[in-house]
Amino acid sequence: MSELKPINGNLKLNGRLTIEQLNALPEVPIEGITYEQIYIEKEPICPEYIPPDESIIPSSKRSVVIDPGRICMPFGAMWASVGVHKCIPFVQGAQGCTTYPRYTFSRIFREPVSIATASFHEDAAVFGGRRNFLQGIRNLVYRYHPEVIAVVTVCSSEIIGDDIEGFLNEAWEMLEEEFGPEIRDQLKVVIIHTPSFAGSHVNGYDEAAKAFVKTLAKRRSPNNKVNIIPGMITPGDIREIKHILKLMHIDYIMLFDISETLDCPLRLPQKMPYYPKGGTRIEEIIDTANSLATFALCPDEGRGAANYLAKRYEVPGILGPLPLGVHNTDKFVKTLSEITGQPISEEIKDERGILIDAMADTFHYTMGRRVAICGDPDIAAAATRFCCELGMEPVAVFSGTQSATFAQEVWAACEEYGYKPVIFNGGDMFEWEDVVKKEKVDLILGNSKCVNISKEANVPLVRIGFPVYDRVGYQRRAYVGYRGGEFLLSLIVNTILDAKFPDDRVHQ
C-alpha cells in the first residue's frame, strides 16, 4: 500500500484509493471523493474461466435471448407521439409501461417527457381497463388540454382484450357531455395497438405512424409539399433533413418532429403545464393526404404509413434508404429533385463537396479497417454502406429487430464493394458480441449498449443510433445528410486516430 500523505482542501489526490485507504484518510478534501478515485477490486463470479457452450451461441439454436438489441413496441409508438405538438401519449397499461419509457427518453434526450398512464392494477386485469381509460382521458383533458391523445396499448391491455375502440366511443360521449360538442374539434384521439410480444420499438413506431395518418389524414387540395416520416433518428438528424429541404426550396411536412419536443431550449418563464413549443401540428398530419410524396426515411419505421397514404390517397411512397453517407444522401436529394422539379442547389453541391473533401483527406486512416455495426435495421444498413464508401470492411452487421429489407440492403452495399459480412437480422447482441470478440475488428459502430463489448474486445466504439445515453450531445448532432456524414466521418477517423495511432505518427 502506498504511503498516504495528509491532504488539505486544495491538494488533488493522485491515483486511486482502496476502500481501506479511503476510510483511513485523516481529512476529506473539500472536493469530496467520488468512486472514480476509489479503487475497487473486481471479484470474479467464479474462480476460473469457464467457456460458454459454443453450440448454442447462435440465437437460432436457443430460446433464451441475451442482450436484446430491441426495446418494447409501445416505446416506438410513444416516440412518434411525442413528436406531435401538444400530444400526450396515454398508455393503457401498468405504471411501469409509462415510467420506463419516460426514463429511457430522459436518459437519451435529457429532456422532460409527458406520458400518462391508465394505471392498471389487478382489478383492470379482472374487469378490463374501461374505467381506467375513461377516467384517464377525462383527467388528461381537464388538466392538460392536449390537442391529441395517442392511446398506446401494451401487453397487458391486449392480453385482457380491452376494446379500446369501443371505450373511445364511450369516452367521446362523456367528453361531449362535460366539455360540449366542440371538444370533438379541439381534441383528436389516435389509437395505436402495440402489444410488445408482437414486435419491437421499430414496429411500434411504424404502427404509430400508420395509426396517425389513418386517423387524421384527409383529402383536400394538393399542397405541393413532401411528407417526411423520419423514423427514430435524432433531433439533430431531423434538423439536417429540414436544412436540406430548405436549400432545395421544398415545402415539407415533417411528421413526428421531435427536433423541438425532445431538444428544447432552457428559457424562462415557462408556461404551465410544460409543453414543448414544437412538434408536428395536427393540421399538417391531416394535410399529408395531399402531398407530392411520402419519404419514409427509415423504411421499417414508416412503411405502413407511406403505403397507406399511397393506397388511400395516391401519394407515392419512397421507402428509404436512410440518407446517411454519400450514396444514400445522393439518392434522397435526387429523388426529391425528381419529384418536386426543384434542381439540386449549389449549396447542396457544396455541402456534398465538403463531405467528399473530408473523405479524400482521410481515407488513409479508414481504408481496410474492419468494422462491426449494430443498431436498428435502417441505421445499421445505412451505416454499413457508408463504411464501405470509406473503404472500410463490414465484418458483422447486426439489427436487433428483424426487418424485411435490412439484410438485402446490407448485402447490396457489401456486394458492390466486395465484402462478405456476417449479417444478424433480428438476433440478440450476445451472438453478435461473440463474432466481434473472435474476429479481428478495428472499430465498432453502435449504440451505448456496445460499450461493454467494446471495452472487453478492446475495440474502439463510435456511438450512433438508438440509444446513446452515456455521452452528451449526440442527440443534437446529425448523422444524416452530407453535413451529418462529415460529422460521422470525423468521429470515425478521430476514434481510429485515438486508438490506433501513436501521437508522433499523427503529428506532421
Binding site: G96, P112, R131
Partner: protein
Amino acid sequence: MAVPEYKLPEEFKLKCDRVIPERYKHMVLTNRQRPNIPACNIKTVPGDMTERGCAFAGCRGVVGGPIGDCIQVVHAPAGCAWYQWGTRRNLSKIYAWAGPGKLCNDSHNRRRAITTDLQERDVVFGGMEKLKKACLEAWRLIPGAAGILIFTTCTSGLIGDDCKAVAKEVEKELEKKEGRPIPVFVFDSPGLCRVSQSTGHHHFNVQFYEQMVEWRKEHPEFCMKEEEKTPYDVAIIGDFNMDWDLAYIKPLFEKIGCRVVAVFTGGERLYNLLKIPDVKLNILHCQRSCTYISDLIKKGYEIPYINVSFFGIEQTAKALRDTAKFFGSKEMMEKAEQVIEEEIKAITPALNFYREKLRGKKIGLYVGGPRVWHWQKVMQELGMKVVFGMCTFAHEDDYEKINKRAEDGVFLVDNPNEFEIEECLEKFKPDLFLTGLKEKYLARKLGVPTVNSHSYEKGPYACFRGFINFARDIYQGIYAPVWKFVKDKDFA
C-alpha cells in the same frame, strides 16, 4: 387503513388539482407533535401523470437486481428486460468472465439482459416450456453463476405460467448436470400488481424469505457452520450499493468490530444472502423496501433488527451507537465513539465550507419514500430548509417518520404528478430540487437546479465521508454559473 381527519389549509390547495380534488387528501403539512399522514399507498388516479413505476420495477429493478452473482431471467417480451439492463446504478464488485484471464467491463448484475422474449405464440400457448429451456441455456452460456432468479411480468402473469413448477424442474436438471444443488428462485411480481414499485419490494422480500427458508431446510450445507460464526456477525438489510455507498458503510461496522456477513441485496452473493439467518443482528437501512424481510427473519429466526439511517452525521453516529448498544460491549461502544470522533474530525473542514455556502437555502425534496425522511436531518445539518417533500410510494410509517424529523409546516405531497411538481417548484421556489432522473429535466426547464437523488450525481453519498460528496453536489447545483445566464431578462 383509515386516513386521519386532516384539513389542508386553502392556500396549500394546488391549483392544478382543482379538477381532481381527490388529490388533496394526498397533501398535508408536517407536525412533530401530532403527525399528519396524507392518503398514501393507494392506487394512482388514471391519467394523473404519476411518476410511479410498477411492481416488477420494485422487485427486479430495486431489490432483486443488485444481487451480484446470479443469472436473472426476465420472463416477458424483451422490453421489460431491456429497461432494467444496466439502468440503476446499483454497483457490485462481482464480475463475470469476459474471456480467459479477463473480466467483464460492468458488474455481473448490470452486464446483461436475459429474457425469454415472449412472442405472440407463447402468449397463446403458454411460455413455460420456453422458460425452462431459456434457464438451462442461460446456464450453459453464462457459466459460473451461483443460481438463477426468475422474474415474472404482466405478460407471464396474465397468461398464467406456473413459473415455480418450472424452477423446480430446472433445479432438478441443474443438480443432475452439476452434481450439486443450484438454487433457482422465482419472484412473482407482475407490473400491474397493487399500488406501485413498493409492492414489488414487498413481493421480493416475502418470496425470497420463503425460498431461503425452504432452501436452508433442504440444504443445510448452505447455512453457516457453528465454528464459522462470530459473536458480532451482522447483516445490513436494505442497502443497494448505489454508486458504491457500501464503500463507506461496511468499513464503519468493521472498524467497531462487527463482521458484515451479508448485505441485502447490494452487490451481494446469493450464498451470503442465504446465511443472513445466522447473524446476530440485522441492521436495517431502507425501512420501506426491506422491513418486511427483517420482520420475517425476526419472527422466524428470532434475530432482532435495528432501524438506522446512514445519511449525515447525527444519523450515522446513531447507527453505530445503536449497534454497539445492542451488543452491550463496552469495547465496541468505546470504539464507536472513537470512530465517530475521527470521522467527524475528518469531514469538519470541508463540511464547514459547505455549511457556509448553503446556509438558509431552500430545498425541495422528492424521492421514493425513505430518503425524504433520511434527508430531513441531513438538510438541517447543512443549515438548509426543506420547503416541500414528496414521495412516490411511501406508506403511513414513512410519513410518520417525516413528520417526526422535519420542521413543522413542511408541505408534503404523496405520489405527486407532473403538474403538481411544476406548481410546487413555482410556488415554493426552492434553490435546489432533490429528485430523480425523469423529473430533474422538468425542474431544469423551469430554471431549478437538481441533484439526482436515486443514483446520485457523483456519489457515494452515505455516511460521514459520503456526506461531503452530497454537500458538494448540492453546492455545485446551486452555484453553477449557468443559472445566472438563465435569469438574464433581455433574453427572456
